[in-house]
Symmetry: D2
Subunit: 299 residues, 4 copies
């Protein structure tokens, strides 16, 4: 036996950057949280504390701000790739960079001046970009905290039963979840599928994937949350040629119809207790069977 | 010296209730968090553990669900009053009820069936209703987590200075805050001001106050966050005759322009670091000098 | 009707300060979160944006650090008073200062060098000090997040019943709560009760109050959480002459014995579901009937 | 191209169970949060909503409670394995089970009766157990939220520099982190290393690993947090033959010495600003080069 160092990475996490761009009096705001993780020739720093290969995380933070100044922050995928390429291209000891960005969206205040904004709430847009010094790159886009609910159109019955099963079959229930989803782009820069160029931006791709997720959730008459998950994933893959894989995590946010019979009242799915814990958690991947190797895209 | 019992109250906090109402295939959802606090002849339970006067908090929870079934949940202020009246009217030992409700809003999923919803995010609507067994009542409506930002139109200079002051005057800065606001209705049921009837619902009142808060924040050229706070409050009071007092708490969510000069870059208010802590906190009340006595409305 | 400015205050919230003191190789750590709220001649800044009376919150932050350097941070009550006196004594426009401090405690790492620490977890120590420019002062000490549980020795029966009551009486239940408590010192500097000097520090007072709260919770055979609350408060007041009032907020963190009868198993209070929401919330004040007027101590 | 279902799992997450065991008047408390994830023949439920293979997550919750009643909750690793074996052994469609448990620790209240407890705070103990229906099993133990600080004995200099580097070298700084660690047991049931039986319980193993982590953090004169990480991992592996791999995630919780020179004060590492974000994040694996294949242990 010998003790050895395994995979490792380091970087500055959660650098909060807000970028204002002016178009005359009209301002635009990008509000992001950037997390960088670098890896490479880092054995010495672990074994002896020799920092010669270590670009300080403070420098990484400065780079985020400087790059935001130089290039603006367009789509977060592009900005993540820009940063990842910068580190692998400029630091010999850095062989691989992972950049994760969360974006918080803002709306204009109605009838306000064009520099006034109200935070949109709702889901957070996300991305993870990887870049090797040999030029290999990947982009996973995503979202989290997209909370949705169908007040009918959901059933759950015909399930396996064991000695600990007391659940009654349901032919009409509330189905609610907070969608966390991440989808892998087939190519970087994005392409429209095997052999096809793809000219749209990550912004269009994001908006369309989000729309398909919502639509599939809403339109699926659900026999189980697993079925809904798969339908959501399949619809995205079928509609969006630039995407080859999607991963979904759907907590089943239980809404229990309250038993009001002790009070002489019926409850035909009108009054629900929204429970915090425990919750079901359904996770699944849906992918194109021709999808290229993912490499480190999901790390 | 003698040890005595002072003010006290008890109740069920954070009962999560979701109420679905059906209009044919079109469903409506109300999603609330209800907290009840009752007080009255509670000396014995504290001194001897005699529970004869204590309506269990479990019964209070049941009441929330039963009332939601019987009456629906319309505007949260109305539902809070309904509950508060119920407890003071039905339990001799309960002399006073306080009901606080948070409401989370949902939007319909675009192009989805009329039973599919996506949580709106953004601010939470709130209310606190008080009711005595003699019929005295009060209603305070409010909101929290309304996050707003002006990317220009804010200054801060001419301030007091002491030996610990290093802040530079600013003639152009980002002003951002998360609005917590609560406003007291002059009368229950609401009236339009001294001597005037008021026919609108709490829903209209809420939407209008929110609109005025946003508009005043956006349109005020700010010399300090205190000035913005007062302007927001004043605009609400001047525009809404049913409101006699508003209380605002505005954290100054600092956005610091990053010094990029070490990198040979200027930064003309384009790149900001959004700080978590510490933050300024500005709190103030704005009221009508004719406002009736608040009683326990703010407790 | 005229719109007027009501009570207001402003200041820097949540300045995180860690103070290291060295006694040779032996280091001591104080880890605090300081929130300052100042009030006084602040009409102009609200009405016109004239900041002449406004000491920037940035200067307040600097003062926290400079004072921590000059004087160290001893007991948080003393440090809070030091800061509050500084602001009311040095700024003519500041008539009143409120300083709130949270303290996070650290233990030494066993067998480690005397500069190595592990955060203690558990409760947070708190205080709120007020100081007027005329010299009036008050100190409220406290704690929060002190989570306690009795696995027997708790009953709840003989309660009021109404049409919505389904709760069964309990002669043996788990009683669990997260104690939030705040207690007012009779005098500043602290005294031992009417006419008596008090020589102990806030540290001793805190440790003793905490001990009494735990002991009273543990030793009370409880017929209701209200009774436990009152007993906790009374024991503190009877044992600690420097305290004239205590306020307690006790969430009843429900532990429901799980019904295992469908599986042919009894459950004699052995297996519990620890629920998140809803929860009972019991709040009460216990005080000395000779307590001096509280002034603004509880604001 | 064809859309296919990839890896998937489902189960009940965050079942909160508190188990009381009585030894006469002396009570013992185990307080856990159990998350189950099952996988197997789940294609049909995803593609068609046929639930025949799906044991409801509600039944899984019931199983947690029933097993806690039948067998008690001893060490969380044993309880996790018990549950995982149950599901793979009793449900033909379940080919693999993953059970994750968090444990919150409680201390007895000093001088209280033997049924009175105060929650310990500090770190949370964790474990993840995997079990296949063919009998393959793995156990990863761990902890999170173990917050530690060295007020001296840490340096950082000799690092790489680029055009965005402004950080000054440090020969004395505060080093603070919140340890998240997970370590893989070489065998299930645990053994003492290659060829050696191991008779100790998971409780002893946990206590010793925790002790070594603290000791290594405290005693390492640190030239970088990477060096500290590796030393922590190596010490655990060298001291504990039952462990073959450890993974550590260490946020560098920056404590910046405040510049007090504008106030005529020096600051010889006495007064620090404890920052929230951004923070460095150092992650690394340390392992025995003879470690058996991890299989799905880390999923």
């Amino acid at each position: 036996m010998a003790v050895v160092l395994g995979p490792n990475r380091y970087g500055k996490a959660e650098t909060r950057v807000v970028r204002v761009t002016r178009d005359g009096d009209v301002h635009h705001v990008k509000d992001c949280n950037v997390s960088i993780a670098l890896s490479g020739a880092m054995t010495d720093v672990h074994l002896t504390g020799d920092n010669a290969a270590v670009l300080p995380t403070d420098s990484q933070k400065n780079t985020v701000y400087a790059m935001a100044r130089r290039h603006g922050i367009g789509e977060i995928e592009d900005f993540a790739l820009l940063l990842a390429r910068h580190f692998t291209g400029s630091q010999p000891a850095i062989h691989h960079a992972r950049v994760e960005i969360e974006e918080y969206s803002w709306n204009r205040i109605p009838d306000g001046p064009p520099h006034s904004f109200v935070r949109a709430g709702g889901e957070v847009r996300t991305c993870v970009a990887h870049h090797d010094r040999d030029g290999t790159a990947s982009v996973v886009s995503g979202l989290k905290d997209l909370v949705v609910l169908n007040s009918t159109g959901s059933e759950f019955h015909g399930f396996a039963q064991d000695e600990y099963t007391t659940l009654k079959p349901a032919t009409d229930r509330v189905l609610a979840t907070a969608v966390t989803a991440a989808w892998r782009h087939t190519a970087v820069p994005p392409r429209g599928g095997p052999g096809e160029p793809y000219a749209e931006s990550y912004a269009v791709s994001y908006a369309e994937v989000r729309r398909h997720l919502l639509e599939a959730f809403a339109r699926t008459h659900s026999l189980s949350l697993q079925q809904t998950l798969y339908t959501m994933g399949r619809q995205v893959l079928e509609a969006r040629p630039e995407i080859c894989e999607i991963r979904l995590a759907l907590p089943n946010k239980h809404h229990f119809a309250v038993d009001l019979s002790p009070f002489g009242l019926d409850n035909d799915n009108e009054v629900f207790y929204a429970a915090d814990r425990p919750y079901g958690l359904i996770e699944g991947h849906v992918l194109d069977d021709d999808a290229p190797d993912a490499g480190r895209a999901w790390e």
